[in-house]
């Protein structure tokens, strides 16, 4: 097994679909999809999505790997889990979208790299790795500046009112980041986990 998903040579070549079934958390249940549309119809941000989960699943079956991994559908999941609880075939739709996003990042799809969610996640996981905690302040700033200094300042300014208010009422603290005591322990565990995942074929995210 390779860590990279196979690229189908023709329509309904199942190589990609099978890879998804086997390598994506809950992917095996995707085979049960009967294309009823409940997930897409239930989706909070369906209007922002190019395909919606239902059609995306059909495209996976059809082997449309590039279209799937460059789709904005996988980035617009707000994790409301309506799709998961309503799916008549118990397909864990949201989980699958999350994992597909991971795959898109891992396989270097350009769309994935420019997604705001990716950048936010990058900042987020940096904070978790470094401090063991999410420092909302640092995560936000990192995220704002992920597109460069000037864009960052612009964004920062847009949120400055909110940030100022937060600070004023004590919902954004000033000072050193919160952090856990045993940061070494956490780092070792996460490093080991990444190693195990790589061993199984999935890489452990962008370095």
């Amino acid at each position: 097994m390779t860590s990279v998903s196979p690229t189908p040579t023709r329509k309904y070549d199942l190589s990609f679909a099978r890879w998804v079934y086997e390598n994506i958390d809950g992917g095996d249940r995707m085979a049960m999809c009967m294309q009823c549309g409940t997930c897409s119809g239930s989706c909070a941000l369906n209007t922002q999505m190019d395909y919606g989960p239902r059609k995306l699943f059909m495209m996976i079956r059809a082997g449309m790997k590039d279209e799937v991994l460059t789709s904005n559908t996988i980035w617009n999941c707000v994790s409301c889990y309506n799709c998961v609880v309503r799916c008549p075939r118990k397909v864990p739709v949201a989980y699958i979208l999350h994992d597909l996003a991971t795959v898109a990042v891992r396989e270097g799809y350009a769309q994935a790299r420019t997604e705001e969610t990716t950048k936010f996640a990058k900042a987020f996981i940096w904070s978790a790795r470094t401090f063991g905690r999410t420092d909302e302040r640092l995560v936000s700033v990192l995220f704002y500046f992920s597109e460069g200094i000037s864009a960052g300042f612009k964004k920062l300014m847009a949120f400055k009112g909110i940030a100022f208010n937060f600070v004023k009422v004590g919902r954004l603290h000033i000072g050193l980041p919160h952090m856990i005591k045993k940061r070494g322990e956490l780092k070792s565990i996460m490093a080991k986990a990444a190693e195990i995942e790589a061993r199984h074929g999935g890489a452990s995210g962008e370095k």
């Binding site: 909070a44 309506n82 999350h98 990042v105 705001e116 978790a128 790795r129 905690r133 070494g184 490093a191």
Partner: protein
């Protein structure tokens, strides 16, 4: 699993508590008010030692699946040290991750093995013996509203409140056996009960009880989700709500802080306070509006709510 036998007002129930990162920041007022009301309703929390971030729902996009799950596994491993009692969280995202990782460890042997191998690298282990629960479910299934009602000395008479549950508090686990089966996904009643117990009037036909506020996407790209927030504000306002009440820190923040942006985009004029049910409880218990209810940490005026507690 602590079996809720009889309900006794004198009995104190002990749980291991996982606060989550928001409790240290944007959700500080939830943390304050929650901690304030706990002793009154007979609940004692012991925090997970040296807890870390749960990874939330998007962490794995960058972190990978197993490493992200390892965050929760480490917390569970520390929670197990606190004893066999149930682990409780209040943040839906924390609950989702921690519960999910816990259930996966319980149900998937190879995952359990991998995870323990990773934990071992930090000198830790976890066997899946705990039960991770959302505090709202605990309130419904273990505590009951009678225990809350007994403390109400200043009922919030005349206050109309829209109970906004949001997504992840319920979904996708509230209807499952290990999720406590405490309410329905579409027409939940528990939050209305939490509101009603204070003497306030819950808006039962509030249509957006379980609509999405945009979650993390609101924090990232609010322009995508302002429409979702507008719907919540609109129906609450139209139904005469004096406040929106929620159990979720992210919901509270999203619905509260984007009101200006919503107004700008939709030409509206919303200015409606968004509070936690624990804040309403603290007020109705006659506790200090600032020290206990942390009302000052809300970003929209809450005078009317505070004034209602008489």
């Amino acid at each position: 699993m602590v079996a809720p036998a009889g309900r006794s007002e004198t009995m104190t129930r002990k749980y291991t508590f996982y606060p989550g990162c928001a409790s240290q920041g944007t959700g500080a007022h939830l943390e304050t008010s929650l901690r304030a009301v706990l002793p009154k309703i007979g609940v004692e929390f012991q925090d997970v030692g040296d807890w870390n971030c749960c990874g939330a729902s998007i962490g794995h996009v960058q972190g990978g699946h197993l490493p992200t799950a390892a965050l929760s596994a480490r917390n569970l491993s520390h929670a197990a040290e606190a004893g066999p009692q149930d682990v409780v969280t209040h943040c839906p995202a924390c609950y989702l991750n921690t519960h999910y990782v816990n259930e996966t460890i319980r149900g998937n042997e190879s995952f359990k093995k991998d995870m323990n191998e990773a934990l071992q690298a930090g000198g830790r282990s976890y066997d899946g013996a705990l039960h991770v629960r959302h505090f709202c479910e605990v309130l419904v299934n273990d505590i009951g509203m009678d225990a809350v009602k007994a403390n109400v000395t200043k009922p919030l008479k005349g206050l109309k409140v829209a109970g906004y549950v949001g997504c992840q508090t319920l979904r996708p686990f509230a209807g499952t056996e290990r999720g406590g089966q405490y309410d329905t996904y579409e027409q939940p009643k528990f939050l209305d009960a939490f509101i009603e117990v204070t003497g306030a009037e819950p808006i039962r036909d509030f249509k957006f009880k379980t609509s999405c506020c945009g979650g993390a996407v609101s924090a990232i790209s609010p322009q995508k989700t302002l429409g979702l927030i507008e719907g919540i504000l609109k129906d609450a306002t139209e139904k005469g709500a004096d406040a929106i009440c929620t159990p979720c820190a992210l919901c509270q923040t999203n619905v509260e802080i984007y009101q200006d942006m919503v107004n700008q985009k939709f030409g509206t004029n919303y200015k409606i306070p968004v509070v936690f049910y624990t804040q309403l409880w603290a007020l109705s218990f006659g506790m200090d509006p600032k020290k206990d209810a942390a009302m000052h940490q809300c970003l929209t005026p809450t005078d009317k709510i505070v004034a209602a507690a008489k």
